[in-house]
Symmetry: C2
């Protein structure tokens, strides 16, 4: 089964992200707005218990931290994903690094760029139009992250939460 | 903010439910297949901490239990909802009762009929057609429930998981 690890930002930031995703992100209906901490990876039924223990360990090892979304950016020319850029604080970097060191799955070929996707799978022309206007709108938001979630993917591509991990709890 | 409490069944049962929901349930994209333990209710930011403590208390008070979906049924003539009927075991009844006694929100005017919705908002004619064929297909599934989730609703009507509660853990 395919699993992933993500942070759901506050309702306020999710509502803002969804106001864009609704039009520009074909994954709009598959998962709420999120910041991916670990990309999709495979776990068998035998492996899941062990993985949950590792996630509990990583969660206990971190305390709640400030997360700041400070501009609209794009991964172009790599791909046409437009996103809210999240400040790569030491806390986020460490959370990402520990999750990837402790769980299955290959290391990403890209370095970690914390982000919340708001548009993807656009044509080059759409990307250029949409990015032009979203970039002008910008984003300026700060909140405290105190949890992350382990999710699994259904056959239709959508994601269900398996478990929540609160930071700093023993 | 609007909250609700639900059980997500196994991936296997969710995939089966989604194969019907895709065509017959306009809420398909808003939330994964689920069994509602407590309908939508309001919680302020001040109330959420206390509500989580109550949910932890209820979760500890129960142990994992068998859940069985054993037929396709309909709420007609009350409404045109078609669902997988889940056996109303004492464990489920008690979980439902305690959650509703411990949290805000009005008691439902209906008695608790544990179910996983697979079709809704159909016209009478559609309902009659769809119910006729789904009822013939039936369902026969048993699994163990060991957790439930507290969710909140976004402005677009979709639901995000706030927290997971594992049964029987202290």
């Amino acid at each position: 089964m395919k699993y992933g690890v993500a942070i759901f930002p506050s309702k306020k930031l999710q509502d803002l992200a969804n106001s864009y995703r609704k039009r520009y992100d074909p994954h709009y209906a598959l998962i709420p707005p999120h910041l991916t901490l670990k990309n999709a990876f495979e776990l068998s039924e035998e492996e899941i218990k062990n993985a949950v223990e590792k996630l509990e360990f990583v969660a206990k090892n971190h305390t709640p931290f400030k997360m700041s979304a400070f501009k609209i950016s794009s991964f172009q020319p790599v791909n046409n994903v437009i996103y809210m850029k999240v400040e790569p604080t030491p806390e986020l970097e460490s959370l990402h690094q520990e999750l990837n060191a402790n769980l299955n799955g290959e290391d990403s070929e890209y370095s970690f760029v914390p982000h919340i996707t708001i548009a993807q799978k656009l044509s080059d022309e759409e990307h250029s139009d949409v990015y032009g206007s979203l970039r002008m709108l910008g984003v300026e938001h700060e909140e405290v992250v105190d949890r992350f979630h382990l999710l699994y993917q259904l056959e239709n591509g959508s994601w269900t939460v398996y478990e929540t991990f609160r930071l700093g709890e023993g």
